[in-house]
Symmetry: C2
Subunit: 247 residues, 2 copies
């Protein structure tokens, strides 16, 4: 166990969670590389949730509450890093929420391992198996596979740590995309409607909190908040912070 007082406690805990995820067949080797890239940006951002990220989180909370068919997309890193927060978020948004296992490097074995892990946290995840399978138009290979009654027919999708191509293809389908990505220059961050530039382990609990806080709000108020969010401007501000981090 890593002592809580360790200055690098959070970062080391995340690495440990991903190592465990690897052993359980949840996390992919490429997921570790991706997390490493995220760590570098987190380091430059100061390993804190910026005001820009907070704004994006609030807008995301409003979008998720306004959605009629919201889906939380879960990959190997998300399942390893914050399965509890995924469960909390789904519960906070309400019964309309679906959680779907969606992998860049899809293998049925890994889909099953992730679904089993999520089940420990009370989540019955969609896995796009058999007759429930649909394909995202314009995407090649297994990356196109989604669940018919899940991502395929959703209106708002939260894609933490997702790939740019899929984000783009889902936007072409008319969906509102919310991304969590530490690299504001990534195609995912650039393509999403709302990009939360933050570490997922910090952003998810905050997102849960905001959803709970806004749950009693009227639709008009939620809409105003969601519409007032400017993703381009927010991303630019995040970039400036990273630039200042490189001293």
């Amino acid at each position: 166990m890593i002592p809580h007082s360790h200055p690098r406690y959070y970062s080391l805990s995340e690495r440990h969670a991903l190592e465990t995820g690897m052993r359980k067949g949840i996390t992919h080797v490429q997921g570790l590389l991706a997390h490493g890239r995220g760590e570098a940006f987190d380091y430059l951002i100061g390993e804190r949730t910026t005001n820009e990220a907070r704004k994006a989180i609030r807008a995301a909370a409003a979008e998720l509450l306004l959605a009629e068919r919201p889906v939380i997309s879960v990959n190997g890193n998300v399942a390893a890093l914050c399965p509890g927060a995924v469960a909390d978020l789904a519960k906070a948004i309400g019964a309309k929420t679906r959680v779907e296992v969606n992998l860049f490097y899809r293998s049925e074995r890994r889909v099953r391992a992730i679904a089993a892990e999520l089940k420990k946290f009370g989540i019955i995840a969609l896995t796009a198996g058999g007759k429930n399978m649909a394909r995202i138009p314009g995407l090649q290979s297994k990356r196109a596979i989604v669940e018919k009654g899940g991502i395929f027919s959703s209106d708002v999708v939260l894609v933490p740590l997702e790939d740019g191509d899929r984000t783009e293809a889902l936007r072409r389908m008319g969906k509102r995309m919310i991304a969590i990505d530490l690299n504001p220059l990534s195609r995912t961050a650039q393509r999403a409607n709302i990009s939360i530039v933050d570490n997922i382990t910090r952003a998810m609990p905050l997102l849960v909190m905001e959803v709970k806080r806004m749950r009693a709000w009227k639709k008009a108020r939620l809409s105003r908040l969601a519409r007032s969010f400017d993703n381009k401007r927010n991303l630019k501000a995040s970039l400036l912070i990273i630039r200042r981090g490189v001293r």
Copy 2:
């Protein structure tokens, strides 16, 4: 196989090499995370060898040729990414060169796997086993373990992708340290005498080329080149490039 024409050929090949390294028991999970961090900095630097890196590579070549007991330190990522370049470099510097397996997360099994891999490239690596083991003063745990006739009694050590603590401890022992590290802010880069801020797969072949080119040089000329190198200034210039990369 990844087609050579692919725009991300080098980056994908590296990831593939590390995945293979994992399967062979050469690369550690933490090495994948570290490589991911490097990828982020490489992306910001433009995935090219900068003029600053070229200067550092030339100074490093001079230092290695001037050394009486040069050692190339090899870890799991180095063994997976560029074992051939390690062999070429050792040969180019000459018979005085030692190659030593040196791991952050040392396990005898991984040391053996790496030594076996290096052997395929004609390298008989030191492994700090049994009676040949010595310890770096001031370092805790297995990270202190080095070979008596290798790093312990060396005068110049090339540590590609090394950790900051060990670089610092070895400098305290009076050794000249050459690092290859894509993060100019890392403690390794900050502590080394010469920090090559470049991707190891690009830097190593260039280092081999420079060593070959300078092999016929007189000592005085090599010394002048090595002494004229200013690491602090070089690191600052590399940081500026990264800053410009964050647009």
